[in-house]
């Protein structure tokens, strides 16, 4: 993290500081998500991560995405998760055996990936500065959706429909 903080350049200090704080919070939360022994807590930590992501979106001048992130994830997905947790009778509170026997295997793999990606990213975007633009207008986004991305848009809606139906079919009692 400190590396990040040190990498901050002179202008837009506020932005950088905000990013740093949020990022730190997110990472901690994410770690809790994958390490905690309480399923409900994990869900709540995940909320925090998702919120942080939304905040980063705002920092990256993408309000619409940020908003939909909040709505969809925190509003919908998390509710789903919690429902799922309850419906599967996970007891509230500590629970043992949430991890595999081979959980340690994950660490080297993760670190491997991290090192790899870190190297690549730094190698590629050593000091590419993000342009300091104003927030992208939402109508531009909508134009995109309704012009060239129209077909995927419709397809996506069908995907959602299918997912809804599929979920119902799967989750029905009989």
């Amino acid at each position: 993290m400190t590396a990040l903080l040190l990498a901050i350049d002179d202008f837009n200090v506020a932005q950088n500081v905000a990013f740093g704080i949020i990022a730190f919070m997110m990472i901690v939360a994410a770690l809790k998500v994958v390490t905690t022994n309480n399923v409900v807590h994990a869900a709540l930590w995940l909320v925090l991560v998702l919120a942080g992501i939304a905040a980063q979106y705002i920092l990256a001048a993408a309000e619409f995405v940020a908003i939909s992130q909040v709505l969809v994830y925190i509003g919908a997905v998390m509710v789903l998760f919690l429902f799922g947790i309850m419906l599967t009778r996970a007891q509230i509170g500590k629970e043992s055996g949430l991890n595999n026997k081979g959980w340690a295997l994950g660490i080297p793999v993760a670190l491997l990936l991290l090192g790899l990606m870190g190297y690549v990213i730094i190698d590629a975007y050593e000091d590419t500065v993000l342009p300091d633009r104003g927030p992208a207008p939402t109508e531009a986004l909508s134009d995109q959706f309704l012009s060239i991305y129209l077909l995927p848009f419709i397809a996506l809606s069908f995907v959602l429909l299918a997912a809804a139906i599929g979920a119902i079919v799967l989750a029905r009692k009989d």
């Binding site: 990498a7 996970a90 990606m117």
Partner: protein
């Protein structure tokens, strides 16, 4: 500010997600880890869209969000069914895929 920040953050989240997928036993937790991964990808998309000054990245991010939602829905439904069938959602007990 630097694009590297966003990208590294995304990378970190991604790796945590991967660790979660590998380490976790509970299906719901695995799904959560997958959410982590998806969000890190989204973060990348947003960062690049900012960097290139085009909204396409945001468009794709929105798609990913939508798909993620659908995925979570279906995934949880499956988890429910599994639980209904075998009173447990411990993934390592599901080994029909054993070769």
């Amino acid at each position: 500010m630097l694009v590297v920040n966003f990208l590294l953050l995304a990378a970190v989240l991604f790796c945590i997600g991967v660790y979660g997928v590998i380490a976790r036993r509970n299906a719901v937790l695995v799904l959560m880890s997958i959410e982590l991964i998806l969000n890190s990808v989204n973060l990348n998309l947003i960062a690049f869209s900012l960097m290139h000054g085009s909204v396409d990245g945001q468009v794709f991010a929105l798609y990913v969000i939508a798909v993620a939602a659908a995925e979570v829905g279906v995934g949880l439904a499956m988890v429910l069914m599994i639980y209904r069938n075998r009173r447990s959602i411990a993934l390592d007990e599901l080994s029909e895929m054993k070769g």
